[in-house]
C-alpha cells in the first residue's frame, strides 16, 4: 500500500472488521487512523461494541446478529476513503513531570552511554520533543508515544525486568511510554512520574488517548512527593 490513500478492510473472525492503512509507524498515517476511529465511533451504528485504533489500523468489534452489516461496511468504506488528515494536533499538549535518573531511572546511564552524551543531555533531548500518542494498549492506560530522537532511541532489553514500578518512564527504540501499573517490562527505564496514567477511581480514569500530544518536563526528587499529593 504505497499510495497514502490506500486502505483495506480485513475480517477478523465473524464479529470484527479491521481497517488497515499504510503499514508503517508514522504520525500522518496514525492521524488518519485516529480520525477514522473517531468518525466510526460517532456514527453510533447499532451493534458496534468497540472501536479500537492502533498505530495504523482500526478494529471494529460488533455483534454479528444485531448489526446492520451492509450499513457498517458502507460507513467504513466512506470514512476510509476520506482525504488524509494532516498530523496536526489541535489539543494542547499534556505536560507530564518526570524525575529522571537515580533509582527512578536505572537505565538512564545506559541510554547516555548508548547515545554517547551526558545523562543531562539525554534528559534535555527527551524533554525537548512533543510526542504523539500513537495508541493505548498492553495494559489499561499504557500510551505508546513517539517519535523519540534517534540519538537516544535505545532498543529494549533482551530480557524484560520482572517488575517495573507504576509511573516509570521508559524508552524502546523510537517509542516512549509510562507504565500505568506495576508489570513486567523490557523498556529502558529513565525516570518516574508522580502522575498516574490510569486510575479507575478518578473522575477521568485515563490521562491519555490516541492522538493526544504529550510533553515531559524534568522535576527534582524533592518535588516528586508534593506533585504526587496534588494529583
Amino acid at each position: 500500500m504505497k499510495d497514502a490513500n490506500r486502505w483495506r478492510i480485513v475480517p477478523a473472525g465473524d464479529s470484527a472488521l479491521v481497517v488497515e492503512f499504510e503499514e508503517r509507524i508514522d504520525p500522518i498515517v496514525n492521524a488518519r487512523t485516529v480520525a477514522f476511529a473517531d468518525a466510526v465511533q460517532a456514527a453510533n451504528i447499532s451493534g458496534v461494541r468497540d472501536v479500537v485504533p492502533s498505530f495504523r489500523s482500526v478494529a471494529v468489534y460488533f455483534d454479528p446478529l444485531r448489526t446492520p452489516y451492509d450499513r457498517l461496511v458502507a460507513k467504513l468504506e466512506e470514512e476510509a476513503a476520506r482525504p488524509i488528515a494532516d498530523a496536526t494536533i489541535n489539543r494542547d499538549p499534556i505536560r507530564i513531570p518526570v524525575c529522571y535518573g537515580g533509582d527512578f531511572g536505572p537505565d538512564l546511564s545506559h541510554v547516555a552511554a548508548f547515545a554517547k552524551m551526558s545523562e543531562a543531555d539525554v534528559v534535555r533531548v527527551h524533554t525537548s520533543a512533543t510526542y504523539r500518542v500513537f495508541m493505548v494498549g498492553f495494559v489499561a492506560g499504557f500510551a505508546y508515544m513517539g517519535i523519540v530522537d534517534q540519538r537516544i532511541a535505545m532498543p529494549r532489553h533482551s530480557t524484560p525486568r520482572v517488575r517495573v514500578p507504576l509511573g516509570t518512564v521508559g524508552i524502546a527504540g523510537v517509542q516512549t511510554g509510562i507504565y500505568p501499573a506495576e508489570t513486567p517490562g523490557g523498556w529502558q527505564l529513565i525516570g518516574r512520574t508522580p502522575v498516574k496514567p490510569f486510575d479507575a477511581a478518578r473522575a477521568e480514569p485515563f490521562l491519555m488517548k490516541a492522538g493526544d500530544a504529550v510533553q515531559f518536563y524534568a522535576i527534582e526528587r524533592s518535588e516528586f512527593g508534593s506533585l504526587k499529593s496534588e494529583v
Binding site: 480485513v10 477478523a12 465473524d14 468497540d50 492502533s54 454479528p64
Partner: protein, 313 residues
C-alpha cells in the same frame, strides 16, 4: 442479602458480559470463558443478560446463603448438593436461607456458571463487574474468591424465571477434545501458503501454562512468510496469534487489547464457548469454515438461548 464463601474452589471469579468499549484505552474485556453457559445460567433464574455470575473452574466452591434465592448452574457438569441432597444442572432451584450449597465431582467440561436471582451486586469497575485477574480489576479486589468473602446479591427482577429444565447444556460439552471452527485472518497472508492446511492437519494440545488469557498450543509449527513481528494492533477474542516459535496461542477472555504477533485465523463466535470448556492437556482439531457456516451456527445458538430467555406465555 449476602452469599458467604465457605470454600472458594480452585479458581472462582465474578464475571458479567465483560468490560466492552474501553479497549481503545487498553482495558481488557474479560468476561466469561463460556459466554453461552453464562447467559443460560442467567436466563434460567430470570436475570437480566447483564447480571454477574460466578465462573467456577475445575473444582467448585461451597457457599452459604443468608436468604432464600433461586439459583441455576450451567456449563461444565458437576455433581452438586444442597444440604447434602443432590440438585440438577441446567435447571432453576431454590436455595433456602442458611443452607449450604456444595459442588462435588466434575464429570465433563472445565467451567460452570452459577447464577443467583438478582445477580452478584458488587460495585462495577468502569461499567463492568467482570474480574480481570492480571490487572486486578473488577470482581472482589480484582482476584479470585477466597474463603470468608461475602458477596452481595441484588434484588430479583420481577421478570419470570424460566420454567424450563434442560436435559443438557446449549454448549456441546467437550470430553477433553473439541473440533473448533475458524475463519482465516486477519493476517493469514503473513504465513506460508500451506500454513492454514498445517493448522488443520493434526491435533493441537493445550499447554499447562494456559489460563483465562490464552491457550498455548503445541502442534504443527506454522511458518511466517514475512517475519514474526507486525506493527502492534488489536487482538480479538478467539484469535490465533503466532509468535516466532510457530506455535499458536489462542487468545481468550482475559487477553490484552493489542499485540505484535501475526494472527493466522480467528475462532468463530459460535465455537468460543466450546473452546472455553477446554483446559490444559485437552486437544483441539481446527477446521477452517465459510462465513456462512459461522453465521448459521451462531443463529442456531441464539435461537436455543432465546427459547429459554423468552418462554412461551
Amino acid at each position: 442479602m449476602n452469599v458467604r464463601v465457605i470454600k472458594p474452589g480452585m479458581l472462582t471469579t465474578i464475571q458479567d458480559r465483560g468490560r466492552w468499549g474501553l479497549q481503545s484505552r487498553g482495558v481488557p474485556v474479560a468476561g466469561p470463558m463460556d459466554p453461552v453457559s453464562h447467559r443460560l445460567a442467567n436466563a434460567l433464574v430470570g436475570n437480566d443478560v447483564d447480571a454477574a455470575t460466578l465462573e467456577i473452574t475445575l473444582l467448585g466452591p461451597e457457599l452459604e446463603f443468608e436468604a432464600e434465592r433461586v439459583v441455576a448452574v450451567a456449563g461444565a457438569e458437576f455433581e452438586m448438593t444442597l444440604d447434602n441432597r443432590p440438585v440438577p444442572m441446567h435447571a432453576p432451584f431454590i436455595v433456602s436461607a442458611e443452607s449450604r450449597f456444595r459442588f462435588g465431582a466434575r464429570r465433563r467440561g472445565v467451567r460452570a456458571y452459577l447464577a443467583i436471582a438478582g445477580g452478584i451486586a458488587i460495585p462495577p469497575t468502569l461499567g463492568s463487574r467482570s474480574t480481570h485477574l492480571i490487572s486486578a480489576m473488577g470482581g472482589v479486589d480484582g482476584r479470585a474468591l477466597k474463603a470468608g468473602d461475602r458477596l452481595p446479591i441484588g434484588d430479583p427482577s420481577r421478570g419470570r424465571r424460566s420454567a424450563i429444565a434442560l436435559s443438557e447444556s446449549v454448549v456441546p460439552l467437550p470430553d477433553h477434545h473439541a473440533r473448533i471452527r475458524v475463519l482465516p485472518g486477519p493476517q493469514a497472508d503473513y504465513f506460508t501458503a500451506d500454513a492454514l492446511d498445517l493448522l488443520q492437519s493434526r491435533l493441537y494440545v493445550i499447554g499447562q501454562n494456559s489460563d483465562r488469557m490464552g491457550f498455548r498450543l503445541d502442534g504443527p509449527r506454522l511458518t511466517h512468510a514475512r517475519g514474526a513481528d507486525i506493527i502492534s494492533d488489536a487482538t480479538p477474542l478467539g484469535v490465533l496469534q503466532v509468535p516466532a516459535s510457530g506455535q499458536p496461542i489462542l487468545l481468550m477472555a482475559d487477553r490484552q487489547t493489542s499485540g505484535g504477533y501475526p494472527k493466522i485465523a480467528t475462532v468463530i463466535s459460535a465455537d468460543i464457548s466450546v473452546a472455553g470448556q477446554l483446559g490444559p492437556g485437552d486437544t483441539i482439531e481446527f477446521a477452517v469454515c465459510e462465513p456462512r457456516e459461522a453465521m448459521a451456527a451462531l443463529i442456531a445458538q441464539e435461537r436455543a438461548l432465546m427459547a429459554i430467555e423468552l418462554p412461551e406465555p
